[in-house]
Amino acid sequence: MKEKTRRINRLWSVVMFFVSVLYMYPIFMVLMNSLKVESAISTSTAFELPTAETFAGFANYENAINAQGFLSSFFYTAFITITSVLAILFFCSMFAWYITRVETKVTKALYLLCAFSMVVPFQMVMFTLSSMADTLNLDTPWVLWVIYLGFGAGLAVFMFCGFMRSVPVDIEEASMIDGSSPLQTYFHIVIPLLRPTMVSVAILEAMWIWNDYLLPTLILDINKYRTISMLIQFFRGSYGRVEMGPMMACIMLAILPIIIVYLVGQKHIIKGVVAGAVKG
């Protein structure tokens, strides 16, 4: 019996190893090519490892960083991501707390609305959204978080509600009896309880917002503000030739922060899952 499960586990490991190789390969290719000289990147040579002749060191990275607008793009992307994630965490957790603890028809409807918003494809609303964003002057990086809050709310509320339901209401009642106002209960008790979920939500939303291409392209003024994913597009832009090397380097630089965020947050996600599963 034990022998059998062990064998099955080993088989799974092998399968998963190949799956992860499949996932990792594109990233590896980008990394590989970002270290090659321009002439060595073509359809036929893309799969080759850099050799002594084609190895370019970090030249492509220097080019990418020195390229027009890279640093400001990086800053805009970071600013949009951070403000949006903070807004989503704060508003959605408070909202989810309220609608799980106060059960009326209205709160139930609001919950369903949030769940429903997750299944509406972005393409369906994007044109009306961009014209509305124009009218409301939401077309700058400084206030883009308002729009991301709207699109991120569905998933965040869904996740927060799911966790909130598993938290016994006793703890909040105890805090009310101990003398807190509802707001104090929220800040002193609810937020710390929600922390593992907050980390999960933050990672998911950050990955999406950081990498998002379509929404900022549609809403931001392309000539004034470019996020990283928009900038990458411009490496192959209007000059007639594609600067493959710097583009690959730029892609690597673009995904680096989000990978770091994920690796740092990852253990909190795992901890959160375990803490929820074990009582007390």
Binding site: I171, A174, M176
Partner: protein
């Protein structure tokens, strides 16, 4: 410390779910408004008194307690704490503390953090706060755990922390909702003793909820027995044990349960009463006779109640009830005999030891047995409304 008065308190839960009606789990009264979880609850609790609310599951104990705490709205009636009307006061303005069945500790704070939390909210100076926390920890024997998180504590230790958090504030009223029911039997007994000790050391009015009659009897100055949202009896443990107000209380208080028999109460011309069970006649004690006379009780069919420990075992003889032993449970100091008497189970407690030494009790299954009981230990309940005829 404070007096707490509940006047005609009622709680109605709106009848939102239709399914609940169909289930018909409890016998709660259902009106147009909804389910009456607590009906016309009247109780005056004295300063420093320890009152226990006891009753079977779903009888409205927690609901009553939560109304006192301010966690549940009071549908009708008035709640006074220390003479002030508190119906609409927020929990934090009532100067009460509560210990929950689930402990409800703040998992992200240390034990010290948990106990400090109510004091911090009161903006108490650091010095005094430390002193109070350490004093409470001392009383409860949790000083060495002050810097641990709740998840690193055992159930009993968590319970102590929960009590500690409640007493540091020196609240006027301390509410406890089944605080011991998550503990194992041994720890429960130990904590029960500690609650008794605790109560000597702090000046607070206690309201304690439990479904365990032993806890109620051992802890309470007064016991409030509830069923289906209605108070059945209020009294000291001795009172409710000796003079149960009705059949329900008689059956609920005391382990093993009181035995019940169908019987006839006969009043003769001179106004003296006899109880007839099967063909055996029992004459109630003078005291009981007088009370029956005072109430003007007529001859009628009754339910006769006798506690297992009040039944006397005898050899063959006149005026005896006869049954057959079905099961014997050896308890050490006593044997519980389950006797089949007229198709019903009667429990009799027989002591294994007496002054003369080991009692010669060998009760195998199926053995015939004869027993009787005195006129001073019987309880007589009306068949009609199940009330104690002496009350």
């Amino acid at each position: 410390m404070a007096e707490v008065s509940l006047r005609h308190i009622e709680k109605v839960y709106p009848n939102t779910e239709k399914k609940k009606k169909g289930e018909k789990k409890s016998n709660l009264k259902v009106t147009e408004e909804g389910v009456l979880a607590v009906q016309d609850f009247n109780l005056d609790i004295k300063d420093r008194e320890f009152v226990v609310l006891v009753g079977p599951s779903g009888c409205g104990k927690s609901t009553t307690l939560r109304m006192v705490a301010g966690l549940e709205e009071i549908t009708r009636g008035e709640l006074y704490i220390d003479g002030k009307l508190m119906n609409d006061a927020a929990p934090k303005d009532r100067d009460i503390a509560m210990v929950f069945q689930s402990y409800a500790l703040y998992p992200h704070m240390t034990v010290r953090g948990n106990m400090e939390y109510p004091l911090k909210l009161k903006k108490m100076p650091k010095e005094e706060m430390n002193q109070r926390v350490e004093q409470a920890a001392e009383i409860l024997g949790i000083t060495q755990y002050l810097d641990r998180k709740p998840k690193a504590l055992s159930g009993g230790q968590r319970q102590r922390v929960a009590i500690g958090r409640a007493i540091v504030r020196e609240p006027k009223v301390l509410l406890m909702d089944e605080p011991l029911s998550n503990l194992d039997a041994k720890l429960r007994n130990q904590m029960r003793a500690e609650i008794i000790k605790l109560r000597e050391r702090i000046d607070t009015t206690f309201i304690y909820v439990t479904h365990d009659q032993t806890e109620a009897m051992t802890l309470g100055d007064r016991i409030v027995i509830m069923k289906d949202g209605v108070i059945q009896q209020v009294g000291t443990p001795q009172e409710v044990f000796d003079h149960p107000a009705n059949l329900f209380v008689a059956g609920f208080i005391g382990v093993p349960q009181m035995n019940f028999y169908d019987a006839e109460l006969i009043r003769d011309g001179s106004g003296s009463y006899t109880v007839q069970v099967e063909n055996v006649h029992i004459v109630p004690s003078e005291e009981k006779q007088a009370r029956l006379r005072q109430n003007g009780v007529e001859s009628q069919s009754i339910t006769l109640g006798v506690r297992p420990e009040h039944i006397t075992l005898l050899g063959e003889g006149e005026n005896m009830l006869h049954g057959a032993v079905e099961v014997t449970e050896m308890m050490g100091s006593a044997v519980h005999l389950h006797v089949n008497f007229g198709g019903r189970d009667t429990i009799i407690i027989a002591q294994t030891m007496s002054l003369e030494g080991r009692n010669p009790v060998h009760f195998g299954g199926g053995n015939p047995i004869s027993f009787t009981f005195g006129g001073n230990v019987i309880h007589m309940f009306s068949k009609k409304d199940e009330r104690n005829l002496e009350a």
